[in-house]
Assembly symmetry: C2
Homo-oligomer: 349 residues x 2
Amino acid sequence: MPASPPDPSSAGTVGSAGLSGLSGATCVVTGGLGFIGSNLALALAAGGARVRVVDALVAQHGGDRRNLAQRPDIEVLEARLDHPCVADLVADADVVFNVAGQVSHHASMTDPLRDLDLNVTSHLAFLETLRAVNPTVRVVYTSTRQVYGRPEHIPVDEGHPARPVDVNGIDKLACEQLHLLYSAVHGLRATALRLTNVYGPRQNLLKDDLGALPVFVRRALRGETIRLYGDGTQRRDCLHVDDVVRALVAATTDAAVGMIVNIGHDQSVTLREIAEELIAAVTSEGGPRSDVELAPWPAEAAKIDIGDFETDSTRATRVLGWKPEIGLRDGARDTVVFYRRHPWYLSST
Amino acid sequence: MPASPPDPSSAGTVGSAGLSGLSGATCVVTGGLGFIGSNLALALAAGGARVRVVDALVAQHGGDRRNLAQRPDIEVLEARLDHPCVADLVADADVVFNVAGQVSHHASMTDPLRDLDLNVTSHLAFLETLRAVNPTVRVVYTSTRQVYGRPEHIPVDEGHPARPVDVNGIDKLACEQLHLLYSAVHGLRATALRLTNVYGPRQNLLKDDLGALPVFVRRALRGETIRLYGDGTQRRDCLHVDDVVRALVAATTDAAVGMIVNIGHDQSVTLREIAEELIAAVTSEGGPRSDVELAPWPAEAAKIDIGDFETDSTRATRVLGWKPEIGLRDGARDTVVFYRRHPWYLSST
């Protein structure tokens, strides 16, 4: 996997520039067979880090061994975070990227105990393992903008109240607080990143329950109608996964220990614009043309919807030296190119 | 148990005036064999409610069947909140007072998974049970001022950021948010009360891990030295349990559905003043005289200490029509009278 500068034609390869600081370091990536985790693991390995992955390959989630098939030197442990064998994996780690999690808001409402188990209980056991075997390790935890709930003001900075509107948001907030508590009290050196919506290569496109963006990508690639709720003008910011990988690595700076940091894009777009950019990217690559359809909000989705959202990432720029580099147009094109080169992401086996 | 107006000589009997609204109602009290739960259950029964208690009698907690021995008509189910048999108990309840919980901050730090299990997981299962069998039931959940963490300003109202500084606070905050989520989304009619420190009759005095106040009470009753950390000038407000029972009942008003409400006292006192009031109450009743000793803060306790705290209970007065009626002097005297009449609370069997 060659190192290259950020470029929409890189199809899922972040530049090594931001990763050189971890060359030679031993890095553990939890959830490393999933979307963000696998992109991070590959980038770290390309940058010269020794990479170990722990992933439970939970059936409903986005993990897939094929995401890391190109790098057999990445050690993969298939286990839950609370399995005793995880201790050996993390004991001599320099950095732990704790990316594993249940991401479906809908699933958190239909099976809340499962979300609690996967997003809090197993992580608390993992923190206890770290406290026992590697108590001062550097940890970067991926939280979510969902912890804010419905914004009181836009853009949303880290001082905005955290009032989550679904079980997933409550659980992610508790897990984030546990990480920072272990940092304040037990010597762990943890940072929590609150990520906005993320898209890009190596995302599971076939499950309808992992967010709106992968569904949009799948339907655009297949030339199927993309359905939007309401009038489609709901605003979001979204990040290409390469920007997120750079943020995760930048967050290992000592200046961010004990902090919560928003990671979002300054480009505010409507869901309709996201769909249209994806459709345009597919057609420009010679693929089929989808259309967009508006539909009334389903009651269950409306209850936990947060309305418009924009992220204020000022702190990320100030403390991490990070800002997004990939706009939606380039990011959509890179994403489409990647999936057309790797068609197994669109096949159901 | 005769109904009587609030009176420091009542030794643990709240007046029935505030409880008459629940006469004839079917009330479930979780944790009803414990300190606050048993005082509530007895008051509800005295006020004419049909009372059912579910309590797991967790060994390290404050529950004791003798707390309810005077009222054999109160039905007691010994079970965890997540036990399937709880469904029958709550299916036709008019009001659920969800008081059960692990209260030790120290224990939450030494065994965080146990705190999570008892303060979140079992409560989430309980909420799922309610959603299944009694989805619009009125629920009053007892949260804690500990969810605020170290105050940014004093007194602390409900708009103050919630930044808990120990596992117990994180877990109680998550559980409170889950109750309010089920209220907002699933039709449950829940209210969360954030209680300050509580003292009074029927508290387990023999376990050192259930808060500072029961230890103070025990040592005062025995004439033993009361140890304070630092200089003893740390400020708190504290409530006699009869005031808390009235608040719990007042919180069943429809006006409080979906709300968080602080329940504290407007009388701010130092820990030293609390100790001295208890010592004075014991000696005025003919008991032995304790003294007060200052000791340096143990490192582990200092890490999770929150400094001075005062509660702003304006919302409770406005929405619930509640305010504290028992000052520290009267409350201490009532407490001492109760335990001298019921010496088994001070014996180790």
